[in-house]
Symmetry: C2
Subunit: 105 residues, 2 copies
Amino acid sequence: MNRKTREKFEARARIIKSMGHPTRLFIVDELSRGERCVCELTDMIGADVSTVSKHLTVLRHSGIVQDEKRGSQVFYSLTVPCVLNFFDCVESVLKARIKKQMGMI
Amino acid sequence: MNRKTREKFEARARIIKSMGHPTRLFIVDELSRGERCVCELTDMIGADVSTVSKHLTVLRHSGIVQDEKRGSQVFYSLTVPCVLNFFDCVESVLKARIKKQMGMI
DNA sequence: TGCCTATTTGGCTAAATTGCCAATTGATCT
DNA sequence: AGATCAATTGGCAATTTAGCCAAATAGGCA
């Protein structure tokens, strides 16, 4: 794998990786239903605000979410709706895995 | 976030996370063109066989790939084709990011 | 101005990840 | 059986990640 190819996959892996954490995946799922402020997300998640804020920073840096400051609050939303396709596919993987475990394949 | 919800997102995040590494993403991309043995993948990637083997174990455990032993070789293939949708979406995220950087949004 | 709320940043520790080498296992071939 | 190739596993050091607390920053309001 040459340098250019490696860089290409590194850039793409970083985006996927940013969703590869339960809390961040929860955030993406929640934002798929509309924008949310940090305080709302923090309440739902039940972790320290600073922790949630850092997770949001990861998602923002990867380009999956964007933020908008309004008053004293910061609202986050998805930049691209297609990330929801991920969920459907993940379900397929889970289903296939269960089928295999049951010896149906 | 209650226990059940957390577990749900943990299971899904584990699948996504397994693709969140340049080498493993490369493997998924390569397998989208057909099954490959460990030795072929190792040649392409240019890392130690043991490293590649461990990456394949991660992907296998998450259910994204399956293995089949034939003779002295082990062939890997995708279990579910939809993982390719990930690539399209990742491209969209990258494009949106570039647009934003250029001040077009 | 001073207080309160919302959010981010710094710092620190614990845990997880990665990649290499060495050793092991398993199949093939002579 | 012995040699060889393919792949996995164990072990270890270096790096990265996660989450909490404390501190800093910023807006809104009395």
